[in-house]
């Protein structure tokens, strides 16, 4: 198992002051530039520390949100490409359904891949529903555009014999000739986030890493679908390095301090649904059939992250306690030994996990406690979980839908 350190680079100082949604509508005048600048540099320091301690790094992107100031993940990627020496750098990623110019994305990544000496990994991200209200990309047909952008980027990476032209349904380029070319020819390791079985199968067919994001025990189904499809298409079992799971993880050298940190960190999960109510489900983002079912069940626009089950199948109650969250696969927290047990159990539950995407800075976590947590993860936890995911633990049966 590889551990990828992550922070969403939030502007949490205003979460209390802003009473309503944390996205789109608040005035940016509530953000003094000294605080913004200080936080962005602090987050980079923490990424640098994680690199020094031997963790890999994940960088994301959101827009017009107080939960994430990383509005251009390539900027953080570029800085870390130059400033770090060891870490793999995972862009997870560029919301391709929202971006208007995939060639520009390919060009940016190629530069960063060269500067880092080939340490870039790249995720094609659908993007959140609420961001379509900023990018103004049409939610209807978004996935057609997503896959066409994917094809442009991959062809741009793989083409080394001069330009090609692209006259597609959504994108049109006279000449595509990537200068500099991608370092990791024909393309960097590719990731695809998602939790549905269709996405898992798509990732499996392409051999991309599937990344299940904060989905808790649903990840088991996702990975099972991936493994089944991978075996069918490639004729061999998928290694667990094709599986990625994202959730929160924090530690301290004693249980009480770890709990205090977990509470601060979990504020991320409590606050991240704070989007304007109308933005949860722009028409076309979900399929007509899914929307029809939701209309009939009166669940249209509901928070997709609510609910779920524990590893033993019991339903997760509303407002679960911190003590419940490790079993839900949402927050691993405690002393290093406690966290090792939780992570090992989850690894076994999902049938082997090769990549743990670890949000340790988030919510109200300050610098010292974040840095201490990073050190403990690297020194105390990592040596005990590194072997996990080297093989598929238990035949991953795809449970009934």
């Amino acid at each position: 198992m590889r551990i990828w350190y992550f922070t969403e680079q939030s502007y949490h100082p205003a979460w209390e002051e802003v009473k309503g949604p944390l996205r789109i509508h608040f005035p940016s005048s509530i953000m003094p530039r000294e605080t913004v600048s200080g936080l962005l540099n602090r987050y980079l320091d923490e990424y640098m520390l994680a690199d020094e301690m031997g963790l890999d790094l994940m960088i994301n992107e959101h827009h017009q949100s107080l939960t994430c100031m990383s509005s251009a993940n390539i900027v953080t990627m570029a800085i870390l490409a130059r400033q770090t020496k060891k870490a793999r750098l995972l862009s997870l990623g560029v919301p391709m359904g929202n971006r208007m110019d995939p060639l520009r994305v390919a060009e940016e990544l190629a530069m960063v891949d060269n500067i880092s000496g080939g340490r870039v990994e790249f995720g094609f991200v659908k993007g959140t529903p609420w961001e379509l209200y900023m990018s103004n990309s049409n939610p209807a047909g978004m996935m057609e555009r997503f896959w066409e952008a994917h094809d442009v980027v991959l062809k741009a990476f793989a083409t080394r014999d001069g330009p090609f032209s692209w006259e597609g349904e959504h994108f049109n380029y006279r000449h595509v000739n990537l200068i500099p070319p991608i370092y990791q020819y024909p393309h960097p390791p590719m990731w695809l986030p998602g939790s549905g079985t269709d996405t898992a199968k798509e990732a499996a067919r392409r051999g991309y890493v599937i990344a299940s994001m904060m989905t808790g025990t649903v990840a088991r189904n996702t990975f099972a679908a991936y493994r089944k499809e991978y075996q069918a298409v490639h004729g061999r079992p998928a290694k667990s390095d094709r599986m990625g799971y994202f959730c929160l993880m924090v530690t301290a050298d004693n249980h009480e301090e770890a709990r205090r940190r977990a509470e601060k960190l979990y504020a991320y999960s409590i606050n991240t649904p704070r989007s304007p109510a109308h933005t949860f489900n722009p028409p076309g983002y979900n399929t007509i059939e899914a929307n029809a079912q939701a209309l009939l069940a009166h669940t249209a626009g509901a928070d997709p992250h609510a609910g779920g089950t524990f590893m033993d199948g019991r339903p997760i109650p509303p407002n679960p306690t911190l003590e419940m969250l490790p079993e839900a696969g949402k927050v691993f927290w405690g002393t290093p030994d406690e966290v090792v047990k939780q992570l090992t159990k989850f690894n076994d539950f999902v049938g082997g996990l090769g990549n743990f995407l670890c949000m340790t800075q988030g919510g109200y976590m300050g610098h010292e406690e974040t840095a201490d947590s990073i050190r403990l993860i690297a020194k105390e936890i990592y040596p005990q979980v590194r072997h996990l995911g080297e093989e598929v633990v238990e035949p991953a049966v795809e449970p009934a839908e």
Binding site: N136, P283, G284, N291, A292
Partner: protein, 263 residues
């Protein structure tokens, strides 16, 4: 709302669509708003007392396949095909809201193919500066807030009775987004060509429309040579639903079909 009709299937230049045909008289093509054909069924029935009304689900709406259409331009050519396929001679073309936009796009392309044009609270043009929004962003509202905004006296938010009805609503919402998400509910170049509409044109406008105000309607009318503009009192964005009789009478008076059929 009237009971769900049985839709006919028609072939329009090789494209299948669902439609209803009602009444006798001068041909009238009705182009529905962005929430589908269902909310207009009462108005269609009322118009059919004086006209032979043809009303289809736009491709992608209801159960009409989208046929790969991407924007309102596709719809405009589709409906010009429909006039030919169904041999509607000198038709009255009536469009409400989003349907009014489609009607205007038809008219700039083939002004002499239409006999008369009636736009009811139509969207489709941009009248103000780039940093002003002159059409309410219908995509940025919860269903309840949308319902409050569009009507003067909001009825209950429509709830689908079964999965088929739910699929139709979901299809309507997705397709409206596909055609009108951005630029939101308008074509920046449409106003430039409205001078081409030599068709006799009437604009009917809900006096209390908060989606596109009467001033927006007046600007629309001013750009169409000789167009008449008439307010419908006591109505919001959908006067054909809230003041069905008044709107139908206005269409009859304008299109010369009134009193030929007793009410």
């Amino acid at each position: 709302m009237a009971d769900s009709p049985v839709y006919e299937q028609a072939d329009i230049a090789g494209r299948q669509v669902e439609l209803i045909v009602r009444g006798q008289g001068r041909p009238l093509l009705y182009l529905h708003a962005g929430d589908g054909i269902e909310p207009s069924l009462g108005f269609i029935e009322r118009l059919s007392r004086s006209f032979k009304v043809t009303a289809a689900s736009h491709p992608g709406f209801g159960a009409s396949p989208r046929h790969g259409f991407r924007d309102v331009h596709d719809l405009a050519y589709h409906y010009l095909d429909l006039l030919d396929a169904l041999k509607l001679a000198s038709p009255v073309v009536v469009g409400a809201s989003f349907g009014g936009w489609v009607a205007a796009e038809m008219a700039i392309r083939a002004p002499t193919r239409l006999g008369s044009l009636v736009l009811i609270d139509a969207v489709g043009i941009k009248t103000t500066s780039p940093d002003q929004r002159d059409i309410a962003d219908l995509f940025s509202l919860t269903p309840a807030a949308l319902n409050e905004l569009v009507y003067k006296r909001p009825p209950p938010v429509p709830a689908p009775a079964d999965i088929e009805a739910a699929r139709r609503i979901a299809a309507n919402q997705e397709t409206l987004s596909r055609y009108a998400w951005a630029p939101t509910l308008h074509n920046p170049r449409l106003a430039r060509w409205l001078h081409r509409i030599t068709t006799p044109t009437l604009l009917l406008w809900g006096a209390e429309d908060r989606v596109v105000t009467p001033d927006y309607g007046r600007a629309y009318a001013k750009a169409i040579p000789g167009a008449k503009f008439q307010l419908i009192d006591d109505a919001g964005h959908f006067p054909e639903r809230e003041q069905t009789e008044a709107v139908a009478r206005a269409v009859e008076a304008f299109a010369g079909a009134s009193a030929s059929v007793p009410a």
